[in-house]
Symmetry: C2
Subunit: 396 residues, 2 copies
């Protein structure tokens, strides 16, 4: 009743909460030790690392109803629960939940933070065995390394075969890598808004973001966590640049046009006169609170290095040779970051490999982000594809 004498607990900042996730996340964690080393494409081995993950729904007795969700560059394992850092809904709650296209009343859904991330799976902001954060001493990781770590998690959960692996953008790259590396463990694969290799344009866009981060003197050669600084401005610029690429000209025009931000007329200054400027600045700042700058370097680099055909003699079809996995490939008409041509190349390779594949280019003006948004056609396709897979496997 009366005011207590104790000082009120200070609410930690979003940034502070995010920092805490690296080693002690608000998620289930599985730790791997020297007995289960992770061999990396860069050479070398991780002998002590962890994977943070969320699950939704129940694994059935036959262990046949598991669906693995792979997240994109700026995503995390909180696909269908409130994000503990931002307090916002999970990034794929449009698609995942009871009665939704990825129906958690029926399926056991798993989503783990990628290797190199900052939400509890080992990444550059994790504490290294020596007691300091890894920083750039963590070896550069690849999409294949991420998938290897996920396979170890799936082993740990006692699941031999996944009903489906599903993901968009970088998540789609992981889906393709799963189908190539572990064909017998993937019954159905669903890459959307993705590609089997990162394009020159996209490598260039990533390089701009990395240079923005590394140009920030507060980056301190990657040692900012120990030095108590934060390359906020560089990371914000990287995010602003990237955010434009996730939308389409049409969606930016519809959302903002040339409307001014809470003012009657131009100020003839470098203030954020236009709503689109104000929006992008906000996107940059919000991202900095929740995402680690070095993780941004690592995860973009993993995407740059992704070129599935290169591991199979330069012929993408060879990555899927003899596969019995069924595929569904989706692209969006206004996605200029991962255009339909990239999805078509996947479909052609699957056709050449004789794999069953359906393909849809969905009409949308929402750009690359369409896969995260309300897209009824995507929902219908996802539901249909997973229903059919479940029926075939006898999952009720």
């Amino acid at each position: 009743m009366a005011a207590s004498g104790a000082a009120p607990a200070e609410t930690p900042t979003v940034e502070a909460v995010a920092r805490g996730e690296a080693d002690r996340p608000h998620s289930a964690v599985v730790r791997f030790g020297a007995d289960t080393p992770l061999r990396l494409d860069a050479g070398g081995v991780l002998t002590s690392f962890q994977v943070a993950y969320q699950t939704y729904g129940m694994l059935n007795a036959a262990r046949s109803n598991a669906i693995l969700i792979c997240h994109a560059l700026s995503g995390d394992q909180h696909a269908a629960n409130v994000n503990p850092v931002t307090g916002k809904p999970g990034w794929w709650e449009t698609l995942i939940g009871p009665g939704k296209p990825i129906d958690t009343g029926r399926f056991f859904v798993i989503c783990s933070n990628v290797l190199g991330g900052c939400m509890g799976t080992t990444g550059p902001s994790s504490t290294a065995p020596g007691g300091r954060p890894y920083g750039l001493e963590l070896p550069v990781v690849t999409i294949r390394d991420m998938v290897r770590a996920q396979a170890m998690l799936v082993d740990h959960l006692g699941i031999e075969k996944l009903l489906a692996v599903v993901g968009g953008s970088m998540g789609g790259m992981q889906v393709l890598q799963w189908a190539a590396s572990y064909p017998e463990r993937v019954f159905a694969a669903f890459p959307m808004a993705s590609a089997a290799r990162h394009s020159a344009q996209n490598i260039g866009l990533h390089e701009v973001g990395r240079q923005a981060i590394m140009a920030d003197p507060d980056w301190r050669g990657g040692r900012y966590l120990e030095e108590g600084t934060s390359p906020r401005r560089g990371l914000a610029v990287a995010r602003m640049a990237a955010h434009i690429t996730y939308m389409s000209e049409a969606s930016l025009h519809r959302k903002f046009g040339r409307r001014l931000q809470e003012r009657e007329d131009r100020t003839f200054s470098f203030d954020a006169d236009f709503q689109v400027e104000s929006y992008l600045r906000h996107q940059g700042e919000a991202f900095v609170d929740r995402f680690d700058a070095n993780s941004y370097l690592y995860v973009t680099r993993a995407m740059d290095y992704f070129d599935l055909a290169a591991d199979y003699g330069g012929v993408l079809a060879n990555a899927f040779k003899g596969t019995r996995t069924r595929f569904c490939v989706v692209s969006f008409t206004s996605d200029w970051l991962f255009p339909t041509s990239g999805s078509r190349a996947i479909v052609h390779a699957l056709n050449a490999a004789g794999a069953p594949v359906s393909f849809a280019e969905i009409e949308s003006d929402k750009g690359h982000d369409a896969f995260l948004l309300e897209e009824p056609e995507l929902f219908a396709i996802t539901r249909g594809f997973l229903d059919s897979a479940a029926r075939t496997l006898g999952v009720s």
Copy 2:
């Protein structure tokens, strides 16, 4: 013959040469004083400013063969001569010269540095009346202000009416502004790869560049010239980001693909493994040597503010009401920065205004930069349009 005792003169750096251009350029300069003030859209007046310009060819006795060239964001007045800063050919030597589509054997060609620029026309790096560089104390300028200054230059040269005004990208914006502000002074107008207003996407892209510059601590609130610093890293990031938008995915793929830069395999690091990274880093660094960071802020802002219809009751056709100027409008299929839809909007407005206009969408995979490159169809159209205008005016 024998070595002289004097120390050899040091070759000044490209950056030092560029700095010298702001006040004392390697170009003709016309100075305007208090008797010819320049009223700015931002309010206020410039009572002392200068315009630096180049001319090519000879003005005929009737003064009827003058063509004004308007340059783009990163351009300057050195359209058809060796650039005194970089030592490279002029940026439009593809199009301008003896016997070329803009034939300097026949036409008197004028190109001036824009207001807000850094190559001799008054801009933020120019010395203000108080003796210090303007920095951000120069009022923000608009495309219309740039055109007002150009009109004063054209007056100074004793030219009443221009045979043609020609420009691409931001140069095309100036062409449209000329046609709207001074219809009786423009016989033929040729905007290419341009738009009558800057789109939300393009404002966003500019804002990223500005934030990159202003995030650089060496920017010093715009006072870097006096403080002896230079926001090189910020400006380089801005240029890298912009450079990607000037190309197309196809041209980046053709030029670089996923080829590695002078190495056999990926280094698994954040080095510039890929040629496209190395190229972009080089573009960023080369730009910083020749361009002023504050000018980048001013000139991008002028483009953002450009919305020709807004000055005419929101109806673009009204900007051209009753005009007798003839127009040629050109766009390029792979230009996603200034897509054909923007050129079409200009053409529709000209149609509505009853103005004579021809329009060509040129098939090219070179992106926005196509207007600066070897494009035979563009050359043929330019030659044809200018020939016809010259013939009509009796210019031999």
